[in-house]
Amino acid sequence: MFNLGQAKTKILVAVHGWSGVVLGFLLYAVVLTGTIAVFAHEIGHWSIGRGEAPSIYQHPIDDHVRTAINSVEPRFRHDVSIFSSPRGNLAVWAHTHAKRPSGQLADIGALLELDPRSGREIARREGWSNEVFRETATALERFLVDVHVRLHMPNPWGLLLTGVLGLAMMAAAVSGLLMHPNLIKDSFTLRRHKKTLVAARDEHAVAGTWGLPFAFLLALTGAFFSFALSFGLPIVSLVAFGGDQAKLRDTLVGARPAVDERSAEVANLDAMIRDAQTRVGGSVNRVSITHYGRKNGQVTIALDPAPGELEPSRLVYEAPDGAFVMRKTRIGTEPSLGSTLFSIIGPLHFGNFGGVISKLVWGALGFASCFMIATGMSLWLRRRAGDERWRIFACVNATVIFGLPIALAASAYGFLLSYPAESAATATPLAFLAGAMLVISFATYASQRSGGQALDAHLMWGLGLTLIGLPIARIASGGIFWPEAFAAGAHETIVIDFALLLGGAFCIRLARRWGVSTLSDTEPAATSGKSQMDPAE
């Protein structure tokens, strides 16, 4: 597409290659976990064997919420949040702000889980927010998202690292665009029958060409989140407001209502919810009440985007009389370019703007990005196949590319086996580590025994068996079987089970085609220029 001359193209190739080699493994980890995290919510449902529950707001909740709040300590009744619990029940979080023993400000209160129909109390937990919301049922979902967002590292280092990886992805995308002279002409050229290096180059180039806009979008939005959360937002806020915290808060979330500590009953919540749904058309996501029971109390109703729209909505009501005040933007006091951009960056990155369809498309794009990274590493190594110095790197490459999915699947095993004992929050990451150690040990043994030949195929075998075992482990550990799941409306459980079984079978088929007929074969059969990274085989 661009003819920059040999010297500049050579530099771009070096940028593209070395950014991939140096940061490729971490980037692959972020992209792979991001692909899986698109379905984190569905995986969470699968792991506890339930489907998408009906909206808690389709039943009247006003009485249930009042009863619940009246049952908690008065000091916790400062602010109230109402949302759907991981099990699809009505969750009421009555809380206040206080200083921890360390001096840090945090929320403390009581979290109640109620049956949305009857209002019967199912569970209650009291304490600081980080303790109360350490929900076992969402441990697997939270672990997958956490690895993606900050590689399970403490803030701000994890966020900074994923931000840098976003920049690396952008650099790879731009350099790939600039260095490829015939990007569009070669977009359908896949010479799988040629010598291995040509086939490897085509695989990477074709995946990269078609995935370029998406790679750029992901890199931009991902870097935005990472840098904004770690240091960006505090820095720009400091410059814009000169350290004036009150002005910052008023600009970001709107001016606080005038202080008025006189008592006032909260108006009927169901009426406000119905009004919000009529005004906007999206489904209610969350209801927040500030200064509960006071004259200056406000109710904010957050709604998912209306059909066909990207931006979610927030409507504000006066708590004492239920009067509509305004439609609030996600950030800022009025709709603007900045507030719109802020609202849509999330859906663009997560792919959750169009239900399961958009998630499937985004998941497929994520898989394509993983393939692009993996084939890029493969191409790099094939160019250096005769160089003994890169042999160990080749083994490490196979271990990461095929081993990381195995370790992530191991975290699911850890969750399933520990969930009945309520220890999933610690068991899930530990199982990931155990899976990783197992893979590394096997890879080390295999590479010493057979020089790393057939390592790809053996690990692919392992991945296949691991995936096939997951539905079995889920059911064996007390999870519901398919007829029961269908009757309970837990369709995601059935779909994901089948996806795992099919995916596992596909992995084993690939492993056999790569020349390892059984798990115990040590040598691959002779192949004729067959590329190891062909999704069509």
């Binding site: 920049l167 840098f227 720009v236």
Partner: protein
């Protein structure tokens, strides 16, 4: 004719320093300066969100300029100018 890219070790090191840490630092300086000249907009947040969104793009521009421009002096000059303008605005904001 020797290419400007057939550089000695020193030129290469300078180029990668400009493309690496220098580009990153200048990008952050530009991020800090942008809230001062990007309009706040009706909601008062445009000058917060837009700089954050532009940060990766600005870094990419600085990085690829440093990598591709054969004239290292020009790369350094543009970097100094961009950083200088933003630092001046910041100084005026906080100490002016």
């Amino acid at each position: 004719m020797s290419s400007k890219y057939e550089s000695g070790g020193v030129r290469r090191v300078i180029r990668w320093v400009l493309a690496g840490p220098v580009a990153a630092i200048i990008a952050v300086i530009v991020l800090m300066g942008m809230p001062l000249y990007i309009p706040a907009g009706r909601g008062g947040v445009d000058n917060l969100v837009i700089p954050l969104l532009l940060l990766p793009i600005i870094w990419a521009l600085l990085f690829f300029h440093a990598v591709l421009d054969s004239n290292l002096a020009r790369v350094a000059l543009i970097g100094v100018l961009v950083a200088g303008v933003n630092l001046t605005l910041l100084a005026a904001r906080f100490w002016g």
